[in-house]
Symmetry: C2
């Protein structure tokens, strides 16, 4: 069965985010002065085959630990849904 997965990889709380700080500075320079914090992470979309949703979720979790995220600095969250449902709508 075909599955889609979305993985959100974000820095753990307390880990300094220089890229986020740079974006925040650029937003302030453009007049968006009400922004008090910016953090930049990754959003990874996958297509994969697996026998069940659980098997797909476990495979994606192993991918995160092996390659997609840095477990020292980053945390991740996974969502899996059947491919026939198409793309997800909300971030």
């Amino acid at each position: 069965m075909e599955w889609r997965a979305a993985v959100r990889v974000t820095l753990k709380p307390g880990v300094l985010d220089p890229q986020g700080k740079a974006v925040q500075g650029a937003l302030h320079a453009q007049g968006f002065r009400t922004v008090s914090e910016v953090r930049v992470g990754k959003y990874i979309q996958l297509a994969l085959t697996a026998e069940s949703r659980r098997e797909a979720e476990e495979a994606v979790e192993r991918m995160c630990r092996a390659l997609l995220a840095n477990p020292v600095l980053e945390q991740f969250a996974i969502r899996v849904w059947p491919a026939e449902q198409g793309e997800e709508e909300t971030p």
Copy 2:
């Protein structure tokens, strides 16, 4: 009022994603051979003040068009929620 926002920035369909292809190749090399597609985008978390949810959403949309996304190559999706609800749970 304090708001949190999450912005998912992804390449438009049809735009080549060399970073995604590289990740897919690395996953295959690690034995994850059921993965047929990988696309890598950005996941941006913001904290901001605004009078209403609608005002916050409109501000974040302006930020996307001005700076956070490249409107030629990328699409974006925005979610805004009250800061007192804390972090969101799912990707």
